[in-house]
């Protein structure tokens, strides 16, 4: 009774990251932190960044939420660790394009494994779950004072 869309959304990679999220811890020596909250879903996130010379030396997160959110946060931390601020922002831009609802072309090769979230487009209500970690990262990199929300 599995539908193709469901299989695409909850595929192996996403479920795996949801069950065992990577970098799922606070950073003792964080230089930047940011918080994100999705009031619709209850997804909550605290992001820790260690920025050195404009590059993300280390990254960690704490929080709770749905499988889409957790796996997105996990895969994001893996994707941006070691990247420069500019590279990370570029990835955010491509990820956002992918989930922007219209058929805007995004750089699939650049996104690599992150492209797995393209399936979320079939579930508009869940897009915010996938993009919250990235919005929070963006806030952290640009050190915005407010708690990020996708509402």
């Amino acid at each position: 009774m599995e539908t193709a869309e469901l299989r695409e959304l909850y595929q192996e990679l996403i479920l795996e990251h949801s069950k065992k999220p990577r970098n799922f811890h606070a950073l003792e020596h964080a230089t930047h932190t940011a918080e994100g909250f999705n009031p619709l879903c209850g997804d909550k996130l605290k992001l820790y960044l260690e920025l050195k010379n404009s590059s993300i030396q280390d990254i960690g997160f704490e929080g709770s939420g749905c499988a889409i959110f957790r796996s997105s946060a996990s895969m994001m931390t893996v994707a941006v660790k070691g990247k420069t601020k500019t590279e990370a922002e570029k990835l955010f831009s491509e990820f956002h394009k992918m989930l922007s609802g219209n058929s805007a072309s995004y750089d699939k090769t650049q996104l690599g494994r992150l492209a797995v979230f393209s399936g979320v487009n079939e579930f508009p209500v869940r897009v915010k779950c996938a993009t919250l970690p990235w919005h929070t990262l963006n806030a952290g990199l640009n050190q915005e004072a407010r708690t990020v929300s996708t509402e």
């Binding site: 009774m1 539908t3 869309e5 469901l6 959304l9 909850y10 479920l15 619709l40 879903c41 209850g42 709770s64 939420g65 749905c66 499988a67 889409i68 959110f69 579930f123 209500v125 869940r126 779950c129």
Partner: protein, 424 residues
């Protein structure tokens, strides 16, 4: 020659069938239920959020706008008089539905939320002052929390919370302890939208009155499932929403005892709620019009009247019995699922089931159920303090109406089992 044993078995089976709730027949009254979502039959189990509408209500609305639409009261032409009559009749229908003493104790508002806001701002601002206390329960919907928080801040009153036990039942002993001479108002839900608990409001009202406090009952989730008699209950205020009882959205009712409604100031002002206006002085209209400023949701009122008529014809007692059957069936089926935890296990409940499933997030469950055509609600159900009390982020809530079937519940149970498999 049929033997006696067989004959009596056939007769008793036939009797059972006749007295059995004619769910399939009633279902036919609801056009939306024949719909398919993602190619699958719609299984609508989100009735606590809003209910579907029978043809009787849809047709009344359509007929009103096609043939009867006019502004009511003081219109001099035929259509206006006709619309006024239908509108006034609807008010009387609501009066009888709630068994209120007077039709002018029925105020039309947008919904239960607006009703509560009206009481908080109109009664509350007039009669509550600093150091007075307002009691609400720990299971309230935000609409029966925030208006009181705002009132408390405005007048310097204190808001106190009646605790509930792990089954989701109000602790009457704690309630008794909280009641004091300082308590001026008690606001409690009749039935919890998240837990399904039926609260012992007769006792709550009686005890509040003994201490001199007034009581507002939030009946949004009770009027669709049981007969309500506001005189028997002796509640001072009672609110409900039309869209939760098979009526249109944007319409609701505040019942208030005449003696209170007479004493309190208007909530919103403008046309219709006045008696005479001049720049020197304005006088207000009599009840209930004092509280009904502006052109009302005429179609909404008329639609509500039709919904009440429809439901009363089926009989709320029969509806209640059938929905209890659905509830029992659902609990039986869902209990078999490994890792399921029900939130809200009161002894007295209606067909509302909230649950969590292991550590799978409610939204993930909701999405998978949605793909199978099953409409439920996942989230905090506008009851964040309640979710916190049970230490859950969110629950999945299935809420039944008299047009749901046991087969639909079986599908729900199967789908929840499937969620477990996805997340294994």
């Amino acid at each position: 020659m049929v033997n006696k044993k067989e004959a009596s078995a056939v007769l008793s089976a036939r009797k059972k069938k006749e007295s059995a709730f004619a769910v399939l027949k009633h279902r036919e009254d609801f056009p939306i239920l024949t719909q398919k979502v993602y190619g699958k039959p719609l299984i609508y189990l989100d009735n606590a959020a809003t209910t579907q509408k029978p043809k009787a209500v849809i047709e009344v609305l359509s007929r009103y706008y096609s043939f009867e639409n006019a502004n009511i009261h003081r219109g001099i032409h035929y259509l206006s008089q006709k619309a006024t009559d239908t509108y006034d009749e609807a008010r009387v229908s609501v009066q009888h539905f709630l068994n209120a003493r007077h039709s002018h104790e029925i105020v039309f508002v947008r919904g239960a939320t607006e009703g509560i806001n009206l009481v908080a701002q109109s009664y509350g601002r007039t009669f509550l002052g600093s150091d007075d206390e307002i009691l609400i329960s720990a299971m309230e919907h935000h609409s029966n929390i925030v208006p009181w928080q705002i009132l408390a801040e405005q007048v310097g009153a204190k808001l106190k919370i009646i605790p509930i036990n792990d089954d989701g039942e109000i602790l009457l002993s704690e309630y008794a302890k909280l009641l004091s001479k300082k308590t001026k108002l008690v606001a409690v839900t009749h039935i919890s939208n998240a837990l399904g608990t039926i609260n012992p409001i007769e006792t709550i009202i009686r005890k509040a009155h003994e201490t001199g406090a007034v009581v507002l009952i939030d009946g949004a989730q009770s009027v669709p499932h049981m007969a309500v008699d506001v005189q028997a209950l002796d509640c001072d205020f009672f609110v409900f929403s039309g869209h939760k009882i098979y009526g249109p959205t944007g319409i609701g009712v505040l019942y208030g005892k005449e003696k209170f409604l007479e004493k309190i100031p208007p909530y919103q002002s403008g046309g219709d709620m006045i008696s005479a206006v001049s720049f020197e002085k304005t006088t207000y209209n009599k009840l209930p019009f004092k509280f009904e400023a502006g052109t009302p949701h005429i179609a909404g009122v008329i639609g509500l009247g039709a919904a009440i008529k429809y439901v009363s014809q089926i009989g709320l007692d029969r509806i209640m019995d059938y929905e209890q059957e659905l509830l029992n069936h659902a609990v039986r089926k869902l209990s078999k699922i490994k890792g399921i935890r029900f939130i809200g296990t009161a002894r007295e409940k209606v067909g509302i089931i909230s649950f969590v499933l292991g550590d799978i997030h409610a939204h993930d469950i909701g999405t998978i159920l949605d793909q199978k055509g099953i409409a439920i609600r996942a989230g905090h159900h506008c009851a964040m303090p309640l979710m916190e009390r049970f230490q859950v982020l969110a629950t999945v809530r299935a809420s039944f109406a008299f047009y749901n079937t046991k087969e639909e519940i079986d599908q729900l149970a199967e789908a929840v089992q499937f969620v477990l498999e996805v997340f294994k």
